[in-house]
Amino acid sequence: MSILEVRNLTKKFGGLTANQDVSMTVEKNSITAVIGPNGAGKTTFFNMITGIYQPSSGIILLENEKINGLKPHDVSKKGISRTFQNIRLFNEMSVLENVLVGMHTHLKAGLMGILLNLPAIRKEEKASEMNAYNLLEYVGLAHLLNEKACNLSYGAQRRLEIARALAANPKVLLLDEPAAGMNPKETKNLTQLIQSMKHEFNLTVILIEHDMKLVMEISEHIVVLDHGEKIAEGKPENIRNNPKVIEAYLGSGAIQTG
């Protein structure tokens, strides 16, 4: 069953076409990878799905409901959460507060409720704090809960971004280069984390990644973009041997010389 469907998505920035007629279908509870050389339009593609950019044309359907045209916070409410290629944490806030912001859409507290400190609000707040802590435990950052986000190491910041995205309790999670800048050991941990959270949270994961080992290991479906267009799509083993993909990555000479 498909959860996310994209039809003929095109994005133009003036004369530059960042994405041209990209279509894809993402199965529920799967891990899909979007790969391609730098500048292929992968992040633009993510930005369109999450509502940061409005597509020039095309349709995005989440569970058969059109979501393009929505504002980013509404997209998040519909159940799409994401991490960023260049880490975007709330640097001056504590680690736990970062995760709490992720729960924003699920908190019902209103202006008056907060002012009067109603028991229901207090209970909700307490429950969300405990949940946030639980998520931190899950990604292995629980002992740093009161630390400022900017004081964490690079790998820890990446995991905090994932915890924050999970806090929104999404249906679809978009990870934009989650392993960038990680050492092999951290990448291995991350691979396990992605696989485990797919089961634990009943998630559909779409990721952009350059680390081919990670991509081949965890993805069930791969979409390859080059110059804004989809050039190939399929299972990892098929993509690995696809001449078009090899050409895109290594240049046209690579195939002839073998």
Binding site: H73, S76, R88, L96, M130, Y138, L141
Partner: protein
């Protein structure tokens, strides 16, 4: 010496005794001295001392309440300077509430607003117009001035009108960011003042540059509020309300979304924080406190005119926030108190003292160099010093500390990575 200090830091009893002696000595000297600004300021400083003790929050609040509600007015009441002390305290309270409002906008939501005094003006004029005959120029019904009893209602109305102005200003203004926002808000602040300055034609609403005079004093149970010592209590109540509200918001969903927007707009949006609504809420709530205090200000001065709401006022409030510590509630309170007292007491006292010296022929200071004239210079110098040596303010903002034990024990997801392995090179 350092060990003694450490011991003192840990020992609640020692702190309590020291605080009591301190309060006792300062209040006694304030009570006996006919006019001693030093004693007055030192007694106020006891609140700062109290802040740094290890007492529980409730104890601190009760002690602070006792000092402000009973001790300060009582001990000050024994001298000739009673009303002038209370005047200063009242103004300190008004500025603290405004600085706390601006702190929401600048410190928490990160929106640099250089026209904040506009909301204060809106509050002041709201009461000023309806509490004088001014309103009968354009209101088709009702008799004006309204009675002094309506003041209490107008505190709320003034807050609401200011909030409305906050939203109306915010909708166009919040399309721009950062430095541009600062310039646009500066413009809007001036526009509001100029509108009030010119709104005596075609219908005389604000009485223009002449200002609105003899504003009806507030009245409660048949007693008119005429003196600063009476307004002191109104301000105190509103100030407690302001601090209480700001505290509530700070650690709630709303406060977190303000900070998230300040830290990273795109990430905040992706986490479901509606950008425009969150910013407007910061504008509106910040403006509310300012508007309420504007009403009090109008009633206290019994006179409203556009010159009270110049750009310098906006900048003064901003300096209070920056000096105290952006986003830090205790810091901003301290910053506002220090700035106001510096302005109203220390500088004028120094001027008086220097004048006396030059009168008796010891030194001669040209009039242009008197400290009271150097307010802007001193603001500027202070800001430079703070930017260099304490960029985060007097009492920098702190995140709430969560206690790990209280948060444990939910039905846990299996821990994926052992903490042992992680903690090796987690922290920089």
């Amino acid at each position: 010496m350092t060990t003694l200090w450490k011991k003192y830091e840990q020992n609640k009893l020692a702190q309590g005794i020291f605080l009591l002696i301190y309060i006792g000595v300062t209040s006694l000297s304030l009570f006996t001295a006919q006019k001693s600004v030093t004693a007055f300021l030192l007694l106020l400083a006891s609140l700062l001392l109290l802040y740094f003790t290890k007492f529980t929050n409730l104890t601190k609040w009760l002690l602070a309440g006792f000092v402000l509600v009973f001790l300060l007015p009582f001990t000050a009441s024994n001298g000739d300077a009673y009303q002038s002390y209370m005047e200063v305290s009242t103004l300190v309270g008004i500025y603290i509430a405004m600085a706390l409002g601006l702190n929401i906008v600048v410190g928490m939501a990160g929106l640099l607003d250089l026209g904040f005094v506009a909301f204060f003006a809106v509050g002041a004029y709201t009461y000023g117009i309806f509490a004088t005959a001014q309103a009968s120029n354009f209101m088709p019904f009702g008799t004006f001035p309204l009675s002094g009893e309506s003041f209490w209602l107008f505190i709320i109305i003034g807050g609401l009108v200011a909030a409305l102005f906050g939203i109306l200003l915010g909708i166009p203004v919040l399309r721009v960011k950062g430095d541009y926002l600062a310039i646009v808000t500066l413009g809007f602040g001036e526009i509001i003042r100029i509108i009030f300055n010119n709104l005596d034609r075609p219908i005389n609403i604000t009485n223009g540059a002449m200002g609105i005079s003899s504003v009806t004093p507030p009245r409660l149970f048949g007693i008119d509020f005429l003196y600063p010592s009476q307004f002191y209590y109104i301000v105190l109540v509103l100030l407690f309300f302001t601090i209480f509200t700001v505290r509530r918001f700070e650690h709630s969903k709303i406060g977190r979304s303000w900070k998230a927007v300040r830290e990273n707009e795109i990430a905040a949006q992706a986490m479901g924080v509606p950008l425009v609504r969150t910013k407007l809420m910061a504008f509106a709530i910040g403006a509310t406190f300012s508007g309420m205090m504007g009403v009090v200000f109008a009633a206290k001065q019994a006179f409203v005119d556009p010159t009270s709401f110049t750009l310098l006022e906006s900048i003064t409030i901003l300096v209070m926030v920056v000096l105290g510590g952006m986003g830090s509630v205790p810091g901003v309170i301290l910053g506002a108190a220090v700035m106001t007292i510096l302005n109203l007491q220390v500088l004028t006292e120094m001027t008086n003292w220097l004048n006396q010296l030059s009168l008796s022929g010891i030194i001669s200071i040209p009039y242009a160099l008197s400290p009271a004239k150097m307010q802007r210079f001193i603001f500027g110098a202070l800001l430079i010093l703070f930017a260099l040596y304490r960029p985060k303010g007097l009492l920098p903002a702190k995140n709430r500390i969560f206690i790990e034990k209280d948060l444990q024990g939910v039905n846990r997801k299996a821990k994926l990575v052992t903490t042992q392995e992680q903690s090796e090179n987690e922290k920089l």
